[in-house]
């Protein structure tokens, strides 16, 4: 079955039965779990293809200079998102609004001695600008989804750096723990890539357990925790340069699952809320901690604006 969807000036598009089944599943799930739980499940599913695409498409980051790779990604993303914007926005209506704004700007120049014409033209320009904004909302809401997923994947490369050999880091396990309950018996095994230098240190008031580890060997490794005789694991990255780093294995929380997509989240009924490693910041004003996001937005915007005439986007 093919459905036609048109919402508030948003370009009409077609969807199929599979997507509707997903919607039905979402609706039925709401009856079983709360809404947040459903979104968390969706995010967990979305992360599977997202991680595959992220791994394949962003693989060159691991071998290129940081500034170069982020510039290329930002440029390609800017142009691609512009193209997406073109096809999901109502270009015809936007064009008419733009023409109207230009016409009124011209009248402003021509009839600058007439107060009434000037006032009317200014009002029309503001109105046009307002409608441009309104007609951008839904396309932007659609675009925000791939952008968010892309940023989540990029964050695994740029937000922090792997531990260097000899460097120490804190490992924090958050428990689904209530005040007064006894803490579970927890231990952290040494891994080939890291040794445990301190911990477990129990922070009763926050339901957290801390360890300190020291990286001893380059490579991707896993930390194994024993918690009340059950084994759980967390990925660990040691090495130089760029590699995907999973800061946190998230709990059953959709925002955390979105932000930390690389590892399977702990279930809603898990004793563990999350396990995080306090990796060092990446020092760079282009592709370093937090700065990379600014750089991405600036470069992608520059490329998007540059390619507007080429792609004939209004």
């Amino acid at each position: 079955m093919i459905w036609r969807v048109s919402i508030f000036g948003f370009k009409t598009f077609e969807t199929n039965e599979t997507q509707c089944n997903l919607t039905l599943y979402v609706k039925s799930s709401i009856g079983q779990d709360n809404l947040m739980g459903v979104i968390a499940k969706i995010m967990a599913w979305v992360n599977i293809p997202s991680n595959i695409f992220g791994k394949l498409l962003l693989a060159p980051v691991g071998v290129l200079q940081g500034w170069f790779s982020i510039t290329i990604i930002s440029a390609v993303a800017g142009v691609a998102l512009l193209a997406v914007f073109k096809y999901i926005s109502d270009q015809e209506t936007r064009g008419k609004i733009w023409d109207s704004i230009h016409a009124h700007m011209l009248s402003l120049r021509l009839f600058k001695d007439s107060l009434s014409v000037t006032m009317r033209a200014e009002a029309q320009i503001f109105k046009g600008a307002f409608f441009l904004l309104v007609y951008s909302i839904i396309p932007l809401l659609v675009i925000i989804i791939p952008v968010t997923l892309l940023l989540a994947q990029m964050g695994q490369w740029y937000q922090v750096r792997p531990l260097n050999v000899g460097e120490q880091a804190i490992v924090i396990m958050k428990l689904n723990h209530h005040m007064g309950e006894p803490f579970p018996e927890v231990s952290l095994d040494a891994a080939p890539a890291a040794e445990v230098t301190a911990g477990p240190v129990r922070v009763l008031s926050k339901g957290e357990i801390y360890w300190k580890i020291r990286a001893i060997e380059n490579g991707k490794d896993r930390l194994f925790f024993n918690i009340d005789n059950k084994k759980v694991e967390k990925a660990l990255s040691v090495g130089d340069g760029f590699s995907r780093v999973s800061v946190e294995r998230p709990g059953w929380n959709w925002t955390d699952i979105l932000m930390y997509p690389l590892e399977k989240p702990f279930g809603a009924d898990s004793m563990i809320t999350s396990i995080a490693i306090d990796y060092p910041d990446r020092e760079s004003k282009i592709c370093g901690t937090n700065w990379w996001v600014f750089y991405f937005f600036i470069v992608s915007m520059i490329f998007a604006v540059t390619f507007m005439p080429v792609l004939k986007v209004r």
Partner: protein
């Protein structure tokens, strides 16, 4: 050459570019527009001179250790004729001696005579001798704030810290002829003096304050601390209370003072401590950073962001500082030490290098490191926050950081003058030196030996440093290893003001301090600082009563005779010699000099109370401080050392000879501003 750091501002860049372009267009041959001053006539390009300044290295102990084979590299230099005692300055205090090293002349040339001076116009008001903070001019009051806006149309002048050392430093002569010089941790140069031609780099050392504006203020949190905050010399103590093993209320780390407020008050950062008694560990949670420490463990350097509140609509100011945490004990009595808040070398809030970005360049390679002048936290030991062993560990961290900095210095050195300073021998000696069988002020005989032996190990590490420098540069460079003074036990303390009071020079029988309750109309002389003795001279001091001329002469003679005759209960001479500054100092900067310098005999020093003008009941007392050794005696009692890989021909070299020697090594003549002579010439 070491890197050129002369940076052009935009206007200078445009001016020089335009001049160069015009010259090229006109076909005129010009030297490169951005070149620094050309090499001077006679200057020796490519020449290397390396000075290792080891503060407080004592010739007596060095000789004993050389004789027993424990300083093999220095002994090698001695056998080559490159060892002498080095005459220090009068008084033999570090800021005075290093300033004389810098100028190549006695204290009359630079105007630093003690750690503290007094303002005669304000009748004895004390101030730091080496640097001064000048108040700003003009401000704009906005609610609770007082803003100084240094741009048009306000043009207020913000307060600033200025270097009080006068005269021409030796690097100015090198700078002028294009010879590069780089100084690491140079004392008596905060804020660092500017380089005119960009051939000089300097990291300021002793005298550089922490972010609280002090010489170093630690913060100590403990379960048995005082109610509220207790300030003590060099530190602050607070209590910690735990609720469910988390500190409650939150602890407060005191930061720099917000001087934008009408009533300035310090900024603060709140932080929490979570402890696990079973694991004997704790987690410190500060500004989103989690620091896990086991008992007796030090943290790495932690960056802190201090926010200074500004009026509404104006963004708050932020200052970056760094500190280290040391978890002393988890239970039964929780104790946490926080180092003084140092200027962050990666984002300095104050100017501590010349040029400004020299410090950030160092930090890019080395990370974070101590930037205050006094790095070994002797105050924490004096106030019993640290044990002897803990101080030794902290001092070891400092030394290791400085050795890393020396590695950096060597990596970035090609030619010119390289100066590197070590404080470890001085501050460890103040705490650990004890070379007699007499009872130590605080330690058992075994502990006194143990820690004196620790100091000797530090000497041995300095010897290794010298060995490394000799192997790297021994054949290509003139290497000089020197100290500013030696050391002596500090067993008995002499209260100068009490002596003056008891002998009628201060006629106020109930007076307790020259800064508080003295009757100036009946005071003819007073002591301030460690070695300074001032006459209450008419026309110079605000409330002066001593007439210049004959009365002054008579008084000086009486004081010298009286002080040199003082004997301890066992008959030992307390004061070796009293020096008249008008006879021993030359130079134009003697305006703030004391009239007399009191030179104590070995084993004696001015009492703790004397330094800030306080009086005690008795003139002579035992020193009961862990600060058990000192060098503020007579200069003849505590000479420094000088070693070189070239034979030293001058029989009695002095610290003021170093700068002239360096200039001669680079082929420059000794300028008239210097009083010293070349040590390599007879």
């Amino acid at each position: 050459m070491t890197r050129k750091y002369r940076k052009l501002n935009r206007r200078e860049f445009i001016k020089r570019s335009a001049a160069a372009a015009a010259a090229v267009t006109a076909g005129v041959s010009v030297r490169p527009a951005f070149a620094s001053k050309k090499k001077g006539v006679g200057a020796r390009p490519g020449k290397k001179v390396i000075i290792i300044g080891i503060d407080g290295m004592d010739p007596g102990l060095s000789e004993i250790m050389m004789n027993t084979g424990r300083l093999p590299n220095l002994d090698k230099l001695r056998k080559q004729g490159g060892f002498r005692k080095l005459q220090t300055t009068s008084p033999p205090q570090s800021p005075v001696a290093w300033a004389s090293f810098i100028n190549g002349a006695d204290p009359g040339s630079h105007g630093i005579f003690d750690f503290i001076h007094r303002n005669p116009e304000k009748q004895c008001a004390p101030f730091y001798a080496a640097a001064e903070t000048l108040p700003g001019e003009g401000f704009l009051e906005v609610s609770d704030h007082r803003l100084q806006l240094d741009f048009w149309p306000f043009n207020h002048k913000p307060s600033k810290t200025v270097l009080r050392r006068k005269g021409v430093p030796l690097w100015d002569y090198l700078d002028a002829v294009g010879i590069s010089s780089v100084f690491y941790d140079l004392p008596s140069n905060y804020p660092p003096s500017p380089s005119k031609y960009g051939n000089h780099l300097c990291l300021a050392g002793m005298g550089t304050p922490d972010l609280l504006g002090s010489y170093g203020t630690y913060q100590f949190f403990s379960e048995n601390g005082p109610l509220g905050v207790k300030k003590e010399a060099g530190g602050r103590r607070s209590s910690v209370y735990f609720d469910n093993e988390t500190s409650s209320p939150l602890l407060k780390l005191t930061g720099p003072v917000n001087s934008f407020l009408k009533t300035p008050r310090p900024s603060e950062i709140e932080f929490a401590v979570h402890r696990d008694k079973k694991a004997r560990s704790a987690v410190i949670d500060i500004q989103g950073q989690k620091i896990l420490l086991r008992e007796k463990e030090w943290s790495d350097w932690i960056k802190l962001d201090f926010e200074l509140d500004m009026p509404a609509l104006i963004p708050n100011e932020h200052l970056s500082g760094i500190c280290r945490f040391y978890l002393q004990e988890v239970s039964p009595t929780f104790r946490l030490y926080v180092s003084p808040i140092n200027t962050d070398p990666s984002d300095p809030a104050t100017r501590i290098t010349e040029p400004d970005d020299f410090i950030t360049d160092m930090s890019e390679e080395l990370g974070l490191f101590y930037t205050t002048g006094f790095q070994e936290d002797h105050k924490a030991l004096t106030n019993k926050v640290f044990s002897d062993a803990e101080f030794a560990v902290q001092a070891e961290y400092v030394l290791q950081e400085r050795l890393n900095l020396l590695d950096y210095a060597v990596r970035h050195y090609d030619d010119g003058l390289l100066f590197f300073y070590f404080s470890s021998t001085d501050l460890q000696a103040h705490m650990f030196w004890w070379d007699s069988h007499e009872k130590h002020p605080t330690r058992s005989e075994a502990d006194a030996k143990k820690y004196f032996s620790h100091l000797q190990k530090t000497y041995a590490k300095m010897d290794e440093v010298v060995g490394n420098m000799l192997s790297l540069y021994g054949k290509q460079a003139t290497i000089i290893v020197m100290s500013d003074h030696g050391f002596a036990n500090f067993r008995r303390q002499f209260n100068l003001n009490t002596w003056l009071r008891d002998n009628g020079y201060i006629q106020s029988q109930n007076a307790t301090s020259v800064l508080k309750d003295i009757n100036w109309a009946r005071t003819r002389a007073y002591g301030l600082g460690i070695n300074g003795l001032y006459l209450n001279l008419k026309g110079r001091e605000r409330d002066g009563i001593v007439e210049p001329g004959e009365e002054r002469e008579q008084l000086i003679n009486d004081l010298i005779t009286g002080l040199e005759a003082v004997r301890d209960v066992d008959g030992k001479q307390v004061i070796r010699k009293v020096h008249r500054t008008d006879k021993v100092f030359a130079g134009p900067e003697t305006g703030l000099a004391p009239d007399l310098i009191v030179g104590y005999a070995r084993g004696f020093r001015a009492s703790w109370a004397t330094c800030l003008g306080d009086m005690t009941k008795e003139v002579l007392l035992d020193n009961n401080s862990i600060w058990s050794a000192d060098h503020c005696a007579d200069f003849s009692e505590v000479p420094g050392v000088i070693f070189s890989n070239r034979p030293i021909k001058r029989t009695c070299p002095a610290i003021i000879d170093l700068a002239p020697t360096i200039l001669n090594e680079f082929g420059l003549k000794i300028p008239p501003s210097m009083q010293g002579k070349n040590i390599f010439s007879t």
